[in-house]
Amino acid sequence: MRQVDVLIIGGGSAGMAAAAAAYEQGVRNILILERSDRLGGILCQCIHNGFGLHRYQEELTGPEYAARNVAVIREKQIPYLLRTFVLDVTPDKRVTAMNPEEGLFHLQAKAIVLAMGCRERSRGALMIPGTRPAGVITAGAAQRYLNLEGYLPGKQVVILGSGDIGLIMARQFVMEGIEVKEVVELMPFSSGLTRNISQCLNDFNIPLSFSSTVIEIRGRSRVSSVVVAKVGPDRKPIPGTEREIPCDTLLISAGLIPENELSKAAGVQMSPSTKGAVVDDTLQTSVPGIFACGNVLHVHDLVDNVSAESEDAGRNAARYVLGELAPSDFSRAVPVEEGQGVGGLVPQYVSPSGASETVKLMFRPRAKYPGGAACAYIGGDLAARKKAVVLTPGEMCELTVKRSAFQNAAGAVVKIEENS
């Protein structure tokens, strides 16, 4: 059986950054397994710009960003297998995979980095009533049809959800001569980046309705209209507010879900809050030697942050292989909890064997907090505080805390203190 020191599952921006960092750390026996026929993951279909502002101080398109990552992999001659689908991962890090060239095969890894990314929430999961015609499509699937295959998934579109991909697609649709009738958002705020609301909707005069949702899909063979209603604070439709919008397409952009089927197969402990693995600050999961990073760990806003996080994961996986990082043991780590107003917290533990001087705590506010402050308390003492003009679920927050502050602490909590 082939032996690999650091095995990386997923050849998107997360997997490539992890591989490069593991290489920099001195490990040479690295292998990336990628399901599709090219490296780059979802970036390949994101032809809009805005990538790389933080990492490269340049405004790149998705394929350009991916190309820079691929250039690093090529330069370091890090091996990768394309069209390779991973079927199983065991807790002792035995991997079953297959591809058309080699058939089904096994690998034994010393460390694994999970970098499988995420998928979109579908109509089914939202339980939207109505008929089941053609023309109900997720934003990412529409993006693929348009950008990779050159076809229009619709001509008159209503978008449900103000997630970033939906906003990006709204702008692109307009450029393609497609009519975007409206963006409908269940919450009283957007889950997308402020810059996308401004550049993709406002600049193109596309209306955005908050506290509204699609309550029915109509049309027998193809969508003919959708019924939109306002919702109350309980997010239930308010009778009497219904209006019918004629359209041939309902684009769903209602959130992303980390793809963790393999993580679960490997016995990794999962977080109900992030829907990703529970990790310590070295990004090591509950299964020693298995690390997670990027959108499979928690859904990010910016690929720049995915790359940075994944470098940490790759570096730590290499250190684990080299015997410089101890196997994870959450019972000896300091637990970090989600307090008032905080969701999707990563990491959930701070490991005593972490090497970095500081620990980065990432999370999403559960609601919109104008003038709110994100605070980290360790053992009751305020360790970090960051005030913002507005804290919103659409933008991930980050607090940096000195590692020394966690020493001998029983626990820590991150919470939002509202403007008083």
Partner: protein, 498 residues
């Protein structure tokens, strides 16, 4: 001239077609949908009923019991997933227990053995059964089947043996003619036939009432279901329903239930609401809420509540609706229509129609054979060759399958692990898939947790390769249900350059 035209490729029509394909007869099946199994046989609970419940002596009881007994051999022969996982009626009060005892007695009359379990006996088999569950009726001969695989399999087998299928073909008018009937389709095509088998589901009344002196009405009775992720199947090993409830509009419903599916998902449902439109199977907020609200309460009695204390609504991956063809009388309408010799009905086949269907189809075929006395074919083949789904293969089987056909190493649908080999096969089979929806029904591609988000474009591509068409011609489910509506600017530009 056709010997027999079967209207409707649901469970009854498909079973009749298969049974008739044994004989030297010219048989056509007309289906108005773009694929077989497009109506009531598709949108139901996927249950194979034991038969303890219908009124003793009724056609319902007779064909339910007879149909149930056919399932082992039928599903074995046609490679259709089927499990005798049992059905349970759970009692949560003394009144329910009385109903349980009454149904047990009824089962005895119908020749269907059931077990009355008190709480102790219930806990012995399902230790995690919730507090408040006082007892149950358990029917070991009940089970679950994949309804569309069953119907597709019967159609494939019938086609393999010479029955012709006409999809997208709606039977419109029927008039008597010398020696039979002249049937005109919605698009004007004419089918002259000696016999007509009316298996038209919610449209059966429209056909019958054109020719018979005994007119009836079919009420489309809607029901919705929710599908839950595979994650929950471990704790759902048998079908559990409440005690049957009377409906204000006549008849009764077997009530809400939770059932395992042969595909490894969990099905919840269904409610019962009378409609007027025979084709309106759209789900409604009212129905979905009714199921969710019901399970928020009923959940605590179920064994799964030991693991998930409250109903995990986030585990729902999809909802679907279906129409039961409910007749305006108490029983199924089966056999030659009064005043219309050679026009045979299988009408009002509501629940337990999926179970009864194979027996009803055989019965209709016997009536045809009595009338036409055909010879049997020498080369009739009862079986069906299928590719084993990749997701069900052992590692050795996978290795071997990929060695023989590298398309098995190409996963198209990640959630359900459907390979390119299976998708190409679904298109190439008899009565093969011609749309994204038909591929889904045959392979499960697009049925998983992402609901086709990743694989749909790849399925479109394979359909184009196999059928030699453009992506712009690919539909979700026939007619004008086009997936794509035009070419992007870049595409149009490239073409202009070339």
């Amino acid at each position: 001239m056709w010997d027999a035209v079967i209207v409707g490729a649901g469970v009854c029509g498909a079973a009749a077609a298969r049974a008739l394909s044994r004989y030297r007869l010219r048989v056509a099946v007309l289906e108005k949908g773009s694929d077989v199994c497009a109506g009531a046989s598709r949108g139901n609970s996927a249950m194979v009923h034991g038969g303890f419940d219908p009124e003793p002596g009724s056609l319902k009881a007779r064909f339910n019991v007879a149909g149930n007994r056919m399932f082992d051999a039928l599903c074995q022969e046609l490679a259709v997933p089927f499990q005798r996982s049992g059905t349970m009626i759970l009692a949560v009060s003394e009144a329910d227990m009385e109903e349980v005892r009454r149904l047990h007695e009824r089962g005895n009359q119908n020749g269907v053995p059931t077990q009355v379990l008190d709480r102790a006996a219930l806990l012995e088999r399902w230790p995690a059964m919730g507090e408040g569950a006082v007892g149950a009726l358990f029917c070991p001969s009940g089970g679950i089947v994949c309804p569309y695989t069953l119907v597709i399999a019967m159609c494939e087998n019938a086609a393999r043996n010479g029955v012709e299928f006409f999809l997208n073909t709606e039977a419109d008018s029927i008039v008597p003619m010398e020696g039979g009937w002249r049937l005109t389709a919605g698009d004007g095509r004419v089918f002259e036939t000696r016999l007509i088998l009316n298996c038209a589901g919610t449209h059966a009344d429209r056909l019958n009432n054109q020719v018979s002196t005994d007119t009836f009405r079919i009420i489309p009775r809607f029901g919705a279901h929710l599908i839950m992720d595979r994650e929950y199947i471990k704790w759902v090993d048998t079908t559990i329903t409440q005690t049957p409830a009377a409906l204000p509009t006549g008849g009764h419903t077997k009530g809400m239930g939770i059932m395992p599916s042969v595909d490894g998902t969990v099905i919840l449902g269904c409610d019962a609401v009378d409609y007027t439109d025979p084709d309106d199977a759209a789900t409604t907020a009212r129905s979905i809420d009714a199921i969710v609200d019901y399970f928020k309460v009923f959940w605590k009695y179920l064994p799964i509540s030991a693991v998930y204390p409250s109903f995990p609504v986030e585990g729902v991956i999809n909802a679907y609706g279906g129409l039961r063809p409910h007749p305006d009388r108490d029983d199924y309408i089966i056999g030659e229509a009064p005043g219309a010799p050679g026009f045979l009905n299988a009408a009002g086949i509501e629940s337990p129609g999926l179970t009864a269907g194979p027996a009803i189809g055989e019965h209709l075929a016997r009536l045809v054979v009595e009338k036409l006395s055909p010879a049997e074919k020498e080369n009739y083949r009862p079986g069906r060759e299928v590719l084993k789904p990749f997701r069900e293969m052992s590692e050795e089987e996978r290795t071997e399958a990929i060695r023989q056909n590298p398309d098995y190493a190409k996963i198209v649908c990640r959630c359900e692990q459907v390979t390119e080999a299976e998708i190409r096969d679904a298109i190439r089979r008899p009565v093969g898939a011609r749309s994204v929806g038909a591929v889904k029904m045959r392979t499960r591609a697009g049925m998983g947790r992402c609901q086709g988000g990743f694989c749909q474009s790849r399925v479109v591509e394979i359909l184009c390769e196999e059928l030699g068409c453009s992506p712009l011609e690919v539909t979700q489910s026939g007619s004008d249900s086009y997936i794509l509506l035009g070419e992007a600017c870049s595409h149009r530009f490239e073409e202009a350059q070339a």
